[in-house]
């Protein structure tokens, strides 16, 4: 079955079996391996990408279901060598150790800040409740999201 999906603003086309999951389409077709393939059971959140701006688990979405929708992966965050504030926050405050959950964490919290630019601890913890990190204990992830929220707001004021 022929499928065309817009991933990070570029149309990607390929003949696939309908059973191909979005996570594999993203990793194999444009070769964007930033999206991690984790538990495969929609529990861990490592595979989260944005579908029309909303975070979804790409291991539990068929690629064929995404035709006509816009997908954004973790590779879309950095623009012209400039890290997204959420990436910078994870870097500054050590929001990762092994990094396996990080792509999903970044996309989930990017979507959170798009909807709620100044979230509370509880709102952040709720937003990432479908994403599992086995290294950080989540404390630094929450701090990193606060860092991103503050710096994003400051950057907007300067503009």
């Amino acid at each position: 079955m022929h499928v065309s999906i817009v991933i990070n603003g570029e149309e990607v086309s390929r003949d696939i079996e309908p059973r191909m999951l979005l996570v594999h389409f993203i990793r194999e077709t444009p070769g964007l391996t930033g999206t991690h393939w984790g538990c495969d059971t929609s529990n861990c959140g490592a595979c989260v990408v944005l579908m029309d701006g909303k975070p979804v688990k790409s291991c539990t979405t068929l690629a064929v279901m995404c035709e006509g929708h816009e997908i954004h992966t973790v590779e879309s965050l950095e623009v012209d060598g400039q890290l997204d504030p959420i990436q910078q926050g994870f870097h500054e405050l050590h929001g990762l150790q092994c990094g396996f959950c990080t792509p999903g964490m970044l996309m989930t919290t990017r979507a959170l800040l798009d909807e709620n630019p100044d979230p509370t601890d509880l709102e952040i913890r709720t937003a990432i409740s479908g994403a599992i990190c086995r290294c950080t204990g989540y404390k630094n992830i929450v701090s990193a999201v606060h860092w991103a929220a503050e710096h994003q707001a400051a950057a907007k004021q300067e503009v």
């Binding site: 999951l21 979804v56 688990k57 539990t60 068929l62 279901m65």
Partner: protein, 291 residues
């Protein structure tokens, strides 16, 4: 690597088209919306449909509205929309109680009310919620619509009244004065199945319970309608003692099985406690006394 078995895929562009496809393909076809129940089942090969009919483009099934003396919810309404609906929060706040603890926020962006009800997993919250508020399912087929009450909708584990060539299109909830409702759940962590959950709705008229609906999730092979507790409560003045009695009935009338989430006696105890709490909170809401 978990991959579903091969299947044919088609995308419906209208409800009529989806039904036509379901008629044509018969029992080999399944409707897919969010896919967050069906795809995991297909990966485990517990479900092996040969055809999937994708209804995600059917925006005409995506609404929550007040119409006459009913709330009508289209089958394609996603969990996140149920969670954020001010209309539901006003009339049936148990939807928000439940949606805050159904799966996780990312899954809630995709999963739908129609998918949840049609999955008919006994541990699924919305089945108990819809039972408690005495919802009616609208099932459409080639010969038009038929209405099925929630007590007849779930006919067994993972089995519903929706037949081959039919699809669930809408859920209707009657609006009656004096309503209060609540959903209580205990789970080990976000996204896990419930250990137990209880949904309650009460309608209070002149200080007495004129009608009541109570249902349990995750403590039997299907959603459990607590008809014996409802009979006890109907016509009585709400009181803590009455809620305790209803909880005792819940403990007796559920049929949990032991698993990693706990032994049978613990689950029975939990079903009782959650029933009592749900009734207490539903009543406080009906009387506008919620603290």
């Amino acid at each position: 690597m978990q991959t579903p078995a091969s299947f044919e895929y088609e995308r419906a562009t209208s409800v009529e088209g989806a039904i036509e496809a379901l008629q044509r393909l018969g029992s080999d076809a399944r409707v897919i919306a969010g896919g967050h129940s069906l795809l995991p089942m297909m990966k485990l090969r517990l479900a092996n449909p040969e055809h999937l009919i994708d209804i995600n483009d059917l925006t005409e099934l995506s609404y929550i509205r007040e119409q006459g003396d009913e709330i009508r919810i289209g089958a394609l309404v996603r969990h996140v929309e149920l969670l954020k609906s001010e209309l539901l929060a006003e009339y049936f706040p148990l939807f928000r109680d439940a949606e805050e603890v159904i799966a996780d926020p990312v899954v809630r962006n995709r999963g739908t009310i129609g998918g949840s009800l049609c999955q008919a997993d006994a541990a699924e919250d919305l089945s108990a919620v819809c039972s408690a508020v005495k919802a009616t399912a609208v099932i459409r087929g080639a010969r038009g619509e038929r209405l099925v009450g929630m007590e007849d909708f779930h006919v067994g584990p993972y089995m519903t009244a929706v037949g081959d060539g039919e699809m669930l299109t809408e859920v209707r909830i009657p609006l009656r004065p004096g309503a209060g409702s609540a959903h209580e759940k205990v789970e080990r962590r976000a996204g896990d199945w419930a250990i137990a959950a209880a949904s309650a709705a009460v309608w209070i008229d002149g200080g007495t319970i004129s009608d009541v609906g109570v249902a349990l999730s995750a403590v039997g092979l299907t959603t459990i309608h607590l008809t014996r507790a409802e009979e006890l409560l109907r016509g009585k003045t709400p009181s803590e003692q009455l809620f305790v009695q209803a909880g005792e009935i819940a403990s007796e009338d559920c049929s949990p099985s032991a698993d990693g989430r706990g032994p049978v006696d613990y689950k029975r105890h939990l079903a009782g406690v959650l029933t009592k709490r749900a009734l207490r909170r539903a009543t406080a809401r009906a009387l506008h006394q919620e603290v």
